[in-house]
């Protein structure tokens, strides 16, 4: 208004000026005349005055109409701004409502998880569906073009929207401006304004829905979140093109979360929860069954939740033919899923002894997002695959300590605390009903260790494998055919021999194969690392001359008295004349294999105890060592300088296991926080997180592995299961 008024002032000024000049004519003349003739009487002629007045009137009239126009314009502007404010308010309310719904769903999830885990209901005073102060919720679903939004809209909101649209038209805002605005709002929400992407988003949501259906089919206590709501909206896509600001936002929100699409479902759920408690009081058997159902689905639920986050990546799969800038929109859309996963971890975290706060958790999540955005933008080849649990390997009676893939076949071996190793062929599956994952039955059970088997390594040919046990022995096995009949006759030849030398538990094994020989490293709680040549000569083995020829396989041994007991060992893959061993001092020592002298020490700061190293692995091509620590860190070291090049908090609990993919691009880590994580090797960003195993005592995931030549990854857990992801 100030502008306007000053403008008015200016106008007035110029008017006066005009007046002055116009009136000045006769006046000056008069003055002149006065001066000349000393005549004090001014001279006015009637026509002159009339003319002047008419002139003035016309001008004022013109001015007045101009002001009128201005006023109308300003009023329209005010109305527009008011309408916009109203729209924003409705939007805000809606978002708040959604947040409440998500919170509620999360609480439900937690309660369920808690119940599942502790067998009692969680005391959560405020666990009730958020009340909707929204009388018009069920108004419509008449088929106007906005039908898809009706579930999230309400009368007043639509009114505001209509109003706004009207104003926009009145004011003549161009579509372009609207577009710009909606882009801004989307940017605010972290979404992008692009119809194709919209399509992809919806593709993703459809995926989610399918999996949701599975879950609900199996009569899991459904939360609204996973309800296969009657949504995805092709019309949304169409409509989103003609977007106005809110429409665009809403469409995305609609995808983001459908928790409140069906309020009845929410109700159902709380009913069921009630039922459960009653059951437990009334009828034991029944409640048992119920619990059973819940438990049976527990992993599935977890998987579902993972799936939500993974759908992010699936979408990217769909999208990968798109142009390069598809990176951004997915980060936030995947976010709810990821958040949810983290939420589950949060529960884990509560009982994780380290007791991290939620704050740190949130930070982790945020980091992930930021990093993956960066990572997407930075590398073109970063098309990433979402790994999904496909095979569940159940047959061990106790925790699975280690696993190793066959170099070429879809075959793996697991080693367990139940004293056995088992051979699995992923192509021989047992179809499991009501679950996406396939069960695999083991083909062969290796029995020979007297006690838990702790570690495992496979030869480069896959023909042999080696296992280390708590009994201090390393057993050399001839891998049975991967098509063996599981109930074939016993062949004692499968166990080729035992390598004797260690005097305490063998905790780590590593194989290296070059043209001339196959070398095996082992580390033991007896404080030594030993180098073996288990197969001195292939021909000698074939000659059937007996086992005596191999009597002295131990080539060398290493120890570092100052550093204590080795916990893990690996060859320096870029220079296999060296090997690295992690010690209880938190130092890693690189030894020269031939001279058995320490070459480099990767010195962990001597500060505190909990830096214990659980696993050490070397990069396949460059002089880089990676260590997994009890203090939740993964650390990266330069083998030449011995300096730490990177350190990061990688998990919510101790990191137990590491694996590097054969090309050295990705790092896989497993942790007692029950999850495995996949990392980019170059920028150390987390690509994917999967909750994979349950806890036994305070242990969860004990080993992870990449298949050397096929797209499989695997995890081994203290819960006695191994899982393979594709």
């Amino acid at each position: 208004m100030q502008n306007e008024s000053s403008e008015c002032g200016e106008m007035e000024e110029s008017l006066n000026h005009q007046n002055g000049s116009q009136m000045g004519g006769p006046q000056n003349n008069a003055n002149n005349k006065q001066g000349e003739k000393n005549n004090p009487k001014p001279q006015y002629s009637i026509p002159g005055i009339l003319h002047f007045i008419q002139h003035e009137w016309a001008r004022f009239e013109l001015e007045r109409s101009q002001w009128e126009v201005d006023k109308a314009e300003l009023q329209a502007r005010i109305a527009f701004l008011q309408g916009e404010r109203k729209g924003q308010e409705n939007l805000k309310n809606d978002l708040v409502r959604r947040i409440k719904m998500l919170e509620y769903a999360l609480k439900q999830e937690r309660a369920k998880f808690h119940k599942l885990k502790y067998g009692v209901d969680l005391q959560q005073g405020d666990i009730k569906p958020p009340v909707l102060d929204d009388p018009a919720l069920n108004v419509d679903s008449q088929l106007d073009s906005e039908a898809p939004y009706t579930s999230v809209s309400n009368a007043s909101w639509r009114q505001g929207r209509q109003l706004l649209r009207q104003y926009l038209q009145e004011i003549g805002y161009t579509d372009r401006i609207i577009d710009v605005r909606s882009t801004r709002v989307r940017a605010l929400l972290g979404l992008n304004n692009n119809a194709e992407q919209e399509e992809n988003l919806n593709g993703g949501s459809v995926n989610c829905n399918e999996s949701n259906k599975r879950a609900s089919d199996t009569q899991d206590t459904n939360t609204g979140r996973r309800t296969p709501a009657k949504k995805p909206q092709p019309s949304v896509l169409a409509e989103s093109m003609m977007l106005d600001t809110e429409a665009a936002v809403m469409a995305n929100l609609d995808f983001l979360s459908n928790p409140d699409v069906d309020m009845e479902d929410e109700d159902d759920m709380s009913d069921e929860v009630d039922l459960e408690t009653q059951d437990e009081i009334d009828d034991d058997v029944k409640s048992v069954k119920r619990k059973d159902d819940v438990d049976a689905e527990a992993m599935e639920v977890l998987n579902e939740l993972n799936l939500l986050s993974e759908s992010e990546d699936q979408r990217q799969d769909i999208n990968k033919s798109e142009s390069g800038d598809w990176n951004k929109p997915f980060q936030p859309t995947g976010q709810p899923g990821r958040r949810t996963t983290m939420g589950m971890n949060d529960d884990e975290n509560i009982d994780a002894p380290l007791g991290l706060g939620l704050g740190e958790l949130a930070q982790l999540t945020v980091n992930n997002e930021a990093e993956s955005t960066y990572d997407m933008a930075s590398s073109k080849e970063s098309f990433r695959k979402a790994w999904n649990a496909k095979y569940t390997l159940r047959s061990h009676f106790d925790g699975v300590r280690s696993l190793a893939f066959h170099p070429t076949e879809p075959v793996l071996i697991t080693a367990s605390e139940d004293h056995t190793l088992k051979l699995w062929n992923l192509q021989k599956t047992v179809p499991a009903k009501k679950s996406a994952s396939l069960d695999v039955e083991p083909l062969y059970t290796f029995r020979s260790h007297q006690g838990p088997v702790l570690c495992l390594a496979m030869s480069a040919s896959g023909e042999q494998c080696f296992s280390g046990g708590l009994d201090g022995y390393i057993h050399c096995w001839n891998t049975p055919s991967c098509n063996i009949d599981p109930y074939d006759l016993f062949e004692p030849e499968v166990l080729e021999k035992k390598l004797e030398g260690h005097t305490d538990a063998v905790w780590g094994l590593a194989m290296h194969h070059n043209q001339t020989r196959e070398l095996l490293l082992s580390c033991s709680a007896d404080g030594t690392v030993r180098l073996w040549q288990p197969k001195t000569d292939v021909r000698m083995h074939d000659a059937e001359t007996g086992k005596m020829l191999y009597s002295n396989e131990c080539l060398n041994w290493y120890q570092s008295k100052a550093d204590g007991i080795p916990s893990s060992v690996d060859f320096c893959r870029d220079d296999p004349t060296k090997m690295v061993a992690a010690f209880s001092s938190a130092n890693c020592v690189i030894f020269d294999i031939e001279t058995n002298k320490p070459v480099v020490v990767l010195e962990g700061e001597s500060s505190a105890a909990p830096r214990l190293i659980n696993r050490v692995v070397c990069h396949p091509t460059i002089p880089l060592t990676v260590t997994a620590h009890e203090d939740r860190h993964i650390r990266f070291w330069d083998n030449n300088t011995g300096k730490m090049v990177h350190s990061m908090v990688a998990h919510l609990d101790a990191v137990t296991s590491l694996a590097v993919d054969p090309n050295g691009l990705y790092l896989l880590s497993g942790s007692h926080d029950c999850s495995i994580r996949l990392w980019h090797m170059d920028n150390k960003t987390c690509v994917q997180e999967i909750t994979a195993h349950r806890k036994k005592f305070d242990e969860s995931i004990l080993d992870v592995a990449f298949h050397p030549s096929r797209p499989y990854i695997a995890s081994a857990g203290a819960d006695g299961l191994a899982k393979v992801f594709v």
């Binding site: 009676f397 679950s435 069960d439 029995r447 109930y487 209880s584 349950r694 806890k695």
Partner: protein, 225 residues
């Protein structure tokens, strides 16, 4: 929740970290059953009792209050099958297909191996392996035992036949490889515990319990139910 309390400093982490010596393996303070919040609490509890004193069979078999009996029996049977691996390993050295070409105990019965489509006269060592492998598959079957927190009645009913089959491993060892049996039994008390177990929960008829292990003591009564 219990661990939240411990988070404030006196944290006990029950872990076998790499590098742990044999003597320290699983050597950690006992955890009360009520404190165990894992889905594997029953297994943890049973293993904890066994590790403490494998001879204290009554305590090991004493079911905690409010414990689901089906799960209790199931977890015990898993533990038996697991520990029987130890006996199988020892038998592998001595029980050859040439000497024991049939699964027998006393001369009364020849046991057919049920792991095959049509039951088969497997040599004793193969019977042992196949039976343990089959038990591992059944007890880990997602179909019958999808949960370790609760178990369907129909699945609990399957435990009896597993017991009957694996018991024959004890009886074969006892009657044909007595040295191995005694050595193993002195360390683990496994056959003794097994016999008490199946008797207590009425999983096998007494006629089938042919290893004379309970003669010198009172057989515990069958479960109160």
């Amino acid at each position: 929740m219990s661990k939240m309390k411990m988070a404030d400093g006196s944290t006990i982490l029950r872990r076998n970290r790499p590098g742990t010596k044999v003597k320290d393996f699983c050597r950690w303070p006992d955890e009360a059953f009520e404190e165990m919040d894992s889905t594997l609490a029953v297994q943890q509890y049973i293993q904890q009792l066994i590790r403490k004193d494998p001879a204290n069979i009554d305590l090991i078999l004493k079911m905690p209050d409010a414990q689901d009996e089906g799960v209790w029996k199931y977890e015990h049977l898993r533990q038996f099958c697991m520990e029987l691996n130890g006996l199988a390993v020892r038998l592998q050295g001595e029980c050859q297909p040439e000497t024991c070409n049939q699964m027998t105990a006393t001369e009364q019965w020849i046991f057919l191996c049920a792991a095959h489509k049509t039951p088969k006269e497997c040599p004793a060592i193969d019977y042992t392996r196949h039976t343990l492998d089959g038990a591992a598959c059944l007890l880990n079957s997602n179909k019958y035992f999808p949960s370790r927190v609760s178990i369907k009645e129909s699945s609990v009913a399957k435990l009896g036949s597993v017991c009957r089959r694996v018991y024959r491993i004890f009886s074969h060892a006892y009657y044909h490889h007595r040295t191995i049996f005694d050595e193993f039994e002195n360390e683990t008390y496994l056959c003794r515990r097994f016999t008490h177990f199946v008797t207590k929960y009425n999983l096998m008829s007494k006629d089938n319990l042919i290893v004379p292990i309970l003669e010198d003591e009172n057989v515990p009564g069958e479960s109160e139910a």
